[in-house]
Chain length 333, copies 2
């Protein structure tokens, strides 16, 4: 029997056009294994669907109301009980559909899902896991923004849900769960993470590998990375920006080249320049300790003579320019 | 008159060798503008310094004790009052040196600085700013790990100190201060960030540009990025890992190439592959909403027909494999 997916035809910037087109593609390429219920105002959706010759396997489910991308989620979910989101979710609730999806107002989809479907027993907060590219494939990060102020037991539940998700959907037999922190030792981190670490260690049904750090993500030290939604959202967006940043940086490095080297030399040169740019030693390696009554500089333990030289110059410069008095003036209320 | 920098000769993995070498380089290249006081056990430091022909401008200040990299900071600072760190800081305190630097135990340097020098009036917590590479140069991020659980007024002080630092040391006339959050609107973020936003808006002497997001960092939307030490440390280490990750990813893409294209085509092909890897749409673009009583999937508002197609297939797969029951079982205590 085909799997029936209810789809919010009205959600997303280019709805219903791209949604209907995507539905048609999914149904046609599935060769009968997937059926789609397009939820939205019947005449509007019908008009778009007709352009695709009304293929079989697609049904329109009438929903007279539409929640806009800019609508306040909670208010819209209350006021528009017959929105395309509600109608699709109700179809799923009543087992007329096996799943529901929407590219619409994320907050409204979350609120309506809780309202129409309810939350799983014992669950504190739903969470949206996302995939992060790594050197070995992808890992799952959650939460990435649905929960801003988390408690330790929220993080434990994110770990449990993420583990099940990775096992079922990502097909990882025993997903390694890593807790995002600032050091490997259990005592490292903020209050939230230290308390969550204890809960995770004591959770027998998880393959918890301990804390991981920012530098471990791309190396996929863990299959599932657990963090609160604030941190997760920041690193998710940072990671997405690499997509445009790295090519732009490579172009900047190429523009600096004087000669026309061979392919291999060119790549080596550009990669070396890129690597230098991300080298923590590049800017002297040392950082001031701001806020004490003096000019104190701190270097990495694995420092080099060149970094020490640069840091001494930096410290001398700070002393000459009177950095500490400037900090003191800045702190004055 | 020369600027005198007290240097912890015993701090760092390869101390005193690289520290002394760095000091010699700094003094010699400064042509009389910098003098260095090497703090450490006299005979030990003397033996290394002699290899460089005992250059003028370098003085040894005897410190009989050494704090190890693995020592507990607070205990070591109490027990070893004549460590190279203490002696150097005392020289600075007594104005025999204009600055102090160390590559030693960071916690011990911080604790000893507070103990010997004291904190600036009105300051809650010292902070270490670091530099982050961007497409336009560098920006300053603080805090990056010295403060794990921050209050809103701590973040305000980080902003003030970071602003002074960028002005004095980075030579930015009116540093743009950005508060790291998950959206531009003041209401976005966790409790800490929302309260800090209000303080920053009301601080007249700062060039506060509002919230910035993870994706804005590399584009240097702000010159100074304010965040708590936990988040700062995670993104700092994530950023540092790009140095090795991107060349490795490029090598992976090169290894996949079948033909031997020209230089330009090669670069274009590799960059396109790299970009695809960081494309959020690559993995279907949709994410499940875990924790509700059903299979709900959420797509980006700016979705495409191909992403909708993939997400429908993903939702069908989740329904078929019964993702929600797996999540429910995982949540059971």
């Amino acid at each position: 029997m085909a799997i029936r997916v209810a789809v919010d035809a009205m959600g997303g910037d280019d709805a219903p056009a791209v949604i209907v087109e995507g539905a048609v593609r999914a149904v046609e390429s599935s060769k009968g294994r997937i059926e789609v219920q397009l939820c939205g105002p019947e005449t509007v959706v019908q008009a778009v669907l007709e352009k695709f010759g009304a293929p079989s396997g697609i049904e329109i489910v009438h929903a007279p109301q539409v929640i806009g991308m800019g609508d306040s989620p909670v208010a819209a979910v209350r006021a528009k009980g017959n929105s395309s989101i509600h109608v699709g979710l109700r179809n799923h609730k009543e087992r007329l559909a096996d799943a529901f999806l929407s590219a619409g107002n994320t907050g409204a989809v979350g609120a309506a899902s809780l309202f129409v479907l309810g939350r799983l027993p014992g669950l504190f907060r739903p969470s949206i896991p996302t995939l992060y590219p790594t050197l070995k494939g992808v890992c799952t990060v959650l939460d990435v923004g649905s929960n801003m102020d988390s408690r330790p037991d929220h993080l434990l539940q994110f770990a449990k849900m993420g583990s099940a998700y990775a096992r079922i959907i990502m097909d990882v037999a025993q997903p390694r769960i890593g807790l995002l922190s600032v050091g490997e030792e259990p005592a490292k981190g903020n209050e939230l993470v230290r308390a969550a670490h204890e809960l995770l260690v004591n959770s027998m049904d998880l393959n918890f590998i301990g804390n991981i750090e920012g530098r471990d993500i791309f190396y996929q030290k863990a299959d599932v990375i657990v963090c609160d939604g604030f941190v997760g959202n920041v690193i998710l967006k940072l990671g997405e920006s690499i997509r445009t940043v790295v090519p732009e940086m490579i172009e900047q490095e190429l523009a600096k080249l004087q000669s026309k080297p061979s392919v291999v030399d060119l790549l080596k040169e550009v990669l070396a320049a890129l690597s230098r740019r991300f080298d923590p030693e590049r800017y002297g390696g040392g950082c001031p300790l701001l806020g004490v009554e003096g000019e104190v500089f701190i270097l990495h333990g694995s420092t080099t003579a060149v970094a020490v030289e640069q840091c001494i110059k930096q410290a001398a410069q700070a002393a000459k320019l009177n950095l500490t008095s400037a900090i003191q003036r800045a702190l004055a209320p």
